[in-house]
Amino acid sequence: MTGRELIAPYSVRLRLVPPQGEFAEPHEDICALLEELGRRTESAGASLIGHLKCYVESPAGENFHGSLTSLRSGARCRGERAQGAASLTVDLTALVYGLSGDEVEAVTLATLRQMQEQGHFEWELNHASTLEPEAGCQPSGAGHDHDHGQEGHHHHAHARDREHGHDHGGGHADHRDEA
């Protein structure tokens, strides 16, 4: 089994703030984020983009989801438009083959910095985690010797949780743990 056949699920919660008061077209900003993240994962050596996806909520309770499975198809957002939102809470999951969790995280942070430089939004990273790399399940049912799942609607910290109050683009340190 080589590294290119492994996937290290990476999840992060972000808070995005528009540079000028409110987001005019949140779908466009989120699609731009996913597509830049996709480009950077491929440049970093990803053998395959499995799925880059996110769930987005506005302070008013509007929500939508974004998805990218290939750069050729591009990103799509579906759901409420959330136009005029003063901020967005984004739960982002990156499932990419061929990169370690640390590499996916580095690519994600670089993407966010670029998005800020381009004037899309300022951001703060509230919570991130990476799970152990795996290859997917084999027909025999064999495969994994670890057990860190979460059942029902209960969420708790596990594996390699990280907090990143020191590493943000907008100067808004906000430690938040969903444990």
């Binding site: 395959l48 996806k53 996110c54 999951t93 799970l131 057990d147 860190h148 799942g149 594996a159």
Partner: protein
């Protein structure tokens, strides 16, 4: 109660198809509960389905076909005891082998559920890459299916569709294959009809 398992690689369209299927179930007066498994820590698909008014149980941060199979069994038992639905719908993670999911539940077949149907979705636009990077998983998802669904007809090239059809024919000869795109709801109707019939048969 019957069990309907949706399998398929990451981003193949499982959640989108399940949303459409849920509406069909509602139209036919059938009740269903949904278990969504995601390999990442944060659940996205469960909330997407929940926004459609569905009662969704999320199992995150692991794969229900192996490492957290016990969570699947426990959750399924709780759902059945509480809601007694006509159908239990499971969306497997994109890296799950359907055989493993069924194996985890096999000891409750006959009491928790009566019959099962596995539907595996295949994204033709990425199939060749999948076969190169994740061959055992891709083969397991295709071979383990009772129904196969080629998705994203609107995005695939003719060559990609030809490869997908040949691959499915080679790996799972005789298995029913549907071809759909979420951009054309009409393309979903025959498949949704068959799945609803399975749900009603319990």
């Amino acid at each position: 109660m019957n069990l309907l398992l949706f399998s398929g690689f990451l981003g193949s369209g499982k959640t989108t198809l399940i949303r459409a299927f849920a509406q069909r179930l509602t139209d036919e007066g059938l009740t269903a509960c949904f278990i969504v498994n995601e390999v990442g820590e944060v659940g996205i698909d469960g909330r997407v389905l929940g926004d459609g008014g569905l009662d969704v149980y999320e199992i995150t941060a692991g794969c229900i076909c192996c490492e957290i199979a016990s969570s699947l069994v426990t959750t399924a038992e709780q759902i059945v005891e509480r809601y007694h639905p006509d159908l239990l719908v499971i969306e497997a993670s994109g890296i799950a082998a359907p055989e493993g999911v069924l194996k985890a539940l096999a000891h409750r077949r006959g009491e928790l559920f009566q019959d099962e149907l596995v539907v595996s979705l295949v994204d033709p636009t990425r199939l060749e890459m999948l076969l190169a990077v994740a061959l055992p998983l891709t083969e397991a998802q295709i071979r383990g299916a009772d129904e196969l669904v080629i998705t994203k007809l609107d995005e695939a090239t003719p060559d990609e569709l030809a490869v997908a059809r040949e691959t499915l024919k080679g790996l799972a000869p005789g298995t029913q294959v549907s071809e759909i795109t979420s951009e054309n709801p009409e393309s979903l109707l025959p498949l949704l009809g068959r799945l609803a019939t399975f749900g009603a048969a319990s």
